[in-house]
């Protein structure tokens, strides 16, 4: 049976919502299933579908109908972006790329039967599976905090309603109030993310509540782009930001959401807003599938397959892969290697040496952008850095403004690369 693109699209549309659809069509075409429609999963689905020209039946399982990117969500907090401008839907992946987008939760992976069970009932069979679920928080990582208290003390580290909530709380702070952040230990999603967030909160407060203060409670000795952020904070927000590192109890913190207190090394302090970013681990479905050791799913660098299951590729923040930071850019880059490996496995297309890259832009204040990045290649057991670069303290205002403009161009390009 030969399916041309039009009949494939038509059939998929006609059977939308019928979970057996991939199985029916898959009789003549190999099936790739992708769990997670974020930076890694959306990119993988799009590249597999586009580059295989319809030879592979692609299903994308993602519960949310709108995806809000974590990258640039701090710019929303700072007032540089609207929430709509960081939201994306899956319509183009379905209509232009023929991807069967299933809005449901992937509950469990049956690795022997090679099926994915969905919370709405039924299951989806696969020949190759790509899992890109992002991060989950470790329970009990910050004593006193749990998902049940995330509205009193938002994490805002999965973008969307949590981000909107955090911004609303910052806007409602009393004059001269305190914003506290409990920063996460390594490794975590987006290494500069908490410190860009502090910059954006400071920018907002500087405009609306200039006597307010910011307190960072940090279990880490050092952090990403530290010299650049600290230089920027002293130039733009002198005296506003205080950071308590592990020397002074930053690693011995507890929170009390009921009374809005942060307890640092036994000393309770009242705060007005508390952004708790807990320690992180691989997405739950990878734990269920038995693909996680010590919090993360280890992968083979050349193909991004799990070291425990050669039919399953794992992408992005959930992986333990070596030198790449956990970032949307990294997930997008890894997805292209995985998509190539999936096509090679299912249609015998050509395989090239894996190469990866990443750049993280951060905004400190209006037109003061910085960046850090690197190129990577697949080593034997881990991804290795090839060359790296980072912005410098003391760069001209023009360079910083250009770096910020670059980040705007990058956002448009990479989201088009993910969502079509």
């Amino acid at each position: 049976m030969t399916l041309n693109r039009r009949t494939f699209l038509g059939t998929t549309a006609a059977l939308a919502g019928t979970l057996a659809a991939p199985a029916v069509l898959g009789q003549s075409r190999p099936r790739a299933v992708v769990i997670g429609g974020g930076a890694g999963g959306a990119t993988a689905a799009r590249y597999i579908a586009n580059d295989s020209d319809g030879a592979i039946d692609v299903t994308l399982i993602e519960p949310a109908r709108h995806y809000y990117t974590c990258f640039f969500s701090n710019l929303y907090i700072g007032g540089f972006r609207s929430i709509e401008s960081i939201g994306h839907s899956y319509g183009t992946l379905a209509s232009d790329y023929g991807i069967n987008v299933v809005h449901d939760w992937a509950l469990a992976i049956d690795r022997d039967a090679k099926t994915v069970a969905l919370s709405g009932g039924g299951s989806v069979p696969y020949d190759r599976l790509v899992v890109s679920p992002g991060i989950d928080f470790k329970e009990g990582a910050v004593p006193g905090w749990s998902l049940a208290t995330q509205n009193a003390m938002p994490h805002a580290y999965k973008a969307g309603s949590q981000t909107e909530l955090l911004r609303a709380q910052i806007a409602a702070m009393p004059e001269g109030g305190t914003f506290a952040m409990v920063a996460p230990p390594n490794p975590y999603r987006c290494p500069p993310g908490p410190y860009e967030r502090v910059s954006m909160v400071a920018h907002y407060l500087n405009e609306h509540n200039p006597t307010a203060r910011i307190l960072i409670v940090d279990p880490k000795e050092t952090f990403s782009k530290q010299a650049l952020f600290q230089d920027g904070w002293s130039r733009h927000y002198p005296g506003m930001i205080e950071r308590i590192g592990p020397d002074f109890g930053g690693d011995r913190v507890e929170v009390r959401p009921d009374t809005m207190e942060v307890v640092i090394d036994g000393q309770a302090e009242s705060v007005d807003v508390c952004n708790v970013i807990p320690a992180q681990q691989a997405g739950g479905i990878l734990h269920q599938a038995g693909l996680v050791e010590n919090d993360w799913a280890t992968v083979v660098p050349a193909t991004m397959t799990s070291v425990m299951d050669e039919n399953i590729h794992v992408l992005g923040d959930s992986t333990r892969q070596g030198a790449m930071p956990k970032s949307g850019f990294s997930a997008n880059s890894q997805a292209k290697v995985a998509a190539m490996a999936v096509r090679h496995a299912l249609t015998d297309s050509r395989m090239f040496p894996a190469r990866f890259s990443n750049t993280c832009w951060s905004l400190i204040d209006t037109d003061d952008g910085i960046k850090v990045g690197a190129t990577y290649e697949a080593g034997e057991d881990r991804i290795e850095a090839v060359d790296t670069f980072i912005s410098q303290v003391g760069e001209s205002a023009e360079t910083r403004a250009e770096t910020y403009r670059e980040s705007l161009g990058w956002y448009d390009s990479i989201t088009a690369d993910m969502f079509g």
Partner: protein
């Protein structure tokens, strides 16, 4: 008198004028044209350098471009009716000073007929334009390298994370539809330190000449 002689010579060597257009290789001509680049561009609305912009030179009356410095001899030839055709250009290229005494063009001439045919084919057709500034840094071997389009497509996935394909170029330039040679020059220039940009310098460090050729070949493919 001289012109008549050239025409006869041409006819003997190359046969009918039509053969010139048929047999010249514009791509090879584009590569050969780099030796002209220090004095000439061949770009739509391109500037005059020491010599005139040669875009659209075929069919043009000699010495008539505005804002261009010509020798009195060249202007006079135009006033006397010299129009650049494939034949007349062939004669001029073979021996500039002999063809036009008083020409300021300090070029010894192209002796090889095939070379002249290729350059003329390049200047005649819709051959890729040469973004000339610095193209002489790139050897003919590298410019002539044949890329692996499929490999280029894979490699390009790194580019499109930042450069829209197609797209606007806010903050980061679009690279869709870029001229192959301009692309090759840019990659080599970033890699070899003639141009600087933190991201591009890093990204190009690991690109081999073959990989740059593959990327150029992929980006030169018509969009799907």
């Amino acid at each position: 008198m001289t012109r008549a002689l050239v025409a006869i010579t041409f006819a003997v060597l190359a046969g009918a004028p039509a053969a010139l257009a048929q047999e010249g290789d514009p791509e090879r001509g584009a590569i050969l044209f780099r030796q002209c680049n220090s004095c000439h561009v061949a770009e739509p609305d391109g500037p005059a350098r020491t010599g005139p912009n040669l875009y659209g030179v075929i069919g043009r009356t000699a010495g008539t471009l505005e804002d261009t410095r010509y020798s009195p001899a060249m202007r006079e030839a135009g006033e006397n009716g010299l129009v650049w055709t494939q034949e007349s250009l062939d004669g001029f290229l073979q021996d500039p000073r002999g063809y036009m005494p008083g020409s300021r063009m300090s070029f010894r001439g192209m002796r090889d007929l095939q070379d002249r045919m290729d350059v003329i084919a390049f200047l005649t057709g819709d051959a890729p334009m040469v973004h000339s500034a610095g193209i002489e840094r790139i050897s003919a071997d590298i410019l002539a390298m044949e890329g692996d389009v499929e490999y280029g497509r894979y490699l390009s996935s790194e580019c499109v994370a930042c450069h829209s394909e197609p797209g606007d170029d806010e903050g980061i330039p679009a690279i869709t539809g870029i001229e192959q040679e301009a692309f090759i020059l840019a990659m080599h220039d970033y890699r070899d330190g003639h141009r600087e940009h933190q991201v591009m310098t890093t990204v190009t460090q690991r690109l081999t000449n073959e990989e740059i050729a593959s990327l150029a070949a992929y980006f030169a493919e018509p969009a799907e």
